[in-house]
Assembly symmetry: C2
Homo-oligomer: 325 residues x 2
Amino acid sequence: MKMHLKVLLPALFLATVLRADPLPSWNPGPSKQSVIDFVAKVTDASSEDYVPVAERIAVFDNDGTLWCETPVPPQVNFAAHEVKRLLPEHPEWKEDPFVQALLKGDFAALGDDHHKGLINIISKSHADRSPEDFAAAVTEWLATAKHPKFNRPYNETIYQPMLEVLLFLRDHGFKTYIVSGGGQDFMRVFAWDTYGIIPEQIIGSYSQVKYQTKDGKPTLTKTLENLFVDDKNGKPEAIYRFIGRQPIACFGNSDGDQAMLEYTTLANPHPSLGLIVHHTDAEREYAYDAKPIASGQLVTGLPAAEKYGWTVVDMKQDWKTVYPE
Amino acid sequence: MKMHLKVLLPALFLATVLRADPLPSWNPGPSKQSVIDFVAKVTDASSEDYVPVAERIAVFDNDGTLWCETPVPPQVNFAAHEVKRLLPEHPEWKEDPFVQALLKGDFAALGDDHHKGLINIISKSHADRSPEDFAAAVTEWLATAKHPKFNRPYNETIYQPMLEVLLFLRDHGFKTYIVSGGGQDFMRVFAWDTYGIIPEQIIGSYSQVKYQTKDGKPTLTKTLENLFVDDKNGKPEAIYRFIGRQPIACFGNSDGDQAMLEYTTLANPHPSLGLIVHHTDAEREYAYDAKPIASGQLVTGLPAAEKYGWTVVDMKQDWKTVYPE
């Protein structure tokens, strides 16, 4: 068969574009392929699996899924930094066993009831201040603090392969959300620059803010009241409240993400993708599942992944690089 | 000066486009002009008032701002309809004075503490059911119920001039949100079709939903717990929680919108627009401010509008038409 050049050239160009690797930091294999195949399927207008752009919603856990959560989630380090900095103004905090543990650097002491403990202690350094004041403190901390193992700022201990997934999905009309146990206000400070995710697409744990007008100026104040913990069942509950419908793709790394993985992938009228990042790389990052240092236990999630056909990423095998650069 | 036709034609075309009236249902005057001037200003890349697309957030109250709230907000009629329909399953409701008032059609009896009373009574017919079941009930009600004065479905007692504002803003890169005392789940059922506003951009009053897995199927159940009333100070608080930053345009009609009008227009680093729909048209709609029938009291909002330079729309003077068609 003979083709004219003007027909062939666009075809070659198209083939090149289609061949271009959207996930260059992923090694070839079933994990990478599952993401590529899913996106190809739901964006093919001629397929019965096609999903309209407006329904292409993807949700991502943050700690352990988009950035490193070990030895402790970075927000705990921020809280420790802030508690030390603000302690002179709050002498009563010295009586609090959680504050005492933090000041000793004894993060393991928060481990027993870790999510509640962590979030409560974090709240202490996050309340009775304006969002602007809080955001300035997070920004200052991010500019100076460094990860103890990798000696780089926490907003650079983010996973390059997952950044590529975020971009790949957005390039195909997906709206990408964070749905994390981490503080909503905390993540909103850096997520736009770091992940390209705007504030209204950041869902996390939060307490009430209070509005009042002071000297003719509207002000908001962060409080500790009505704490909502965006973990486990809280994740699908928050997705319903903030987004109002079922995502079609969900990315997590721990048992805390299992409920939202189920909510995304079971009884969904659209095709769906569930993916778990399994931390198997003790050298380049950390290796943990049943026994994490502080956060990210993965026990029931693995058999659930097997049962429901979720992709389990083997960090050591599947990721060519871990961090950017 | 002589211009070649190929230069002149695009210029004429551009002038025609620029002259095309984006708000055809508005009579000429300062109200209409304030909206047009604001949009021109913040979208002019050469102006120091320019606002990047990502910051173009506009918030709209619903009851009395986008649709008719008189004689009672339509959601109250839905609640009455549902309470009657579900009463056989909940005989205990008969003891409730609010239910008794509803069944008698005595909406005025809910007036004293109206927002709390209305929302509580609404909650009764909204809880202990799945979002899907609830949405189906709203859809069925919308298809059959009619407004007592206008004899048209409630999703057609919407204000044509405000639909044009929604479109005009979206055509200029604005993200349009509803921020209403009405039920978030209730509005999400029809707002996409009716206003072109997707579920994640609907903020309203809400209670907790609970997630659980039943027979391997994820389910959510609406409850009455942790009611959040999205009115007065709750509006800026919800805007912060759901959107995470200050809007630059705010549209309301009652004192319940005053806090979010202040939050939008005071101490905003960007130019901003505040607008109040004043119900002055007893013939084509209703005339009320200090003494509404059930909802939409406007007393402190009028001097605040004067003080802060918000646009006050005189419905009778400023709107050429009220409802679509």
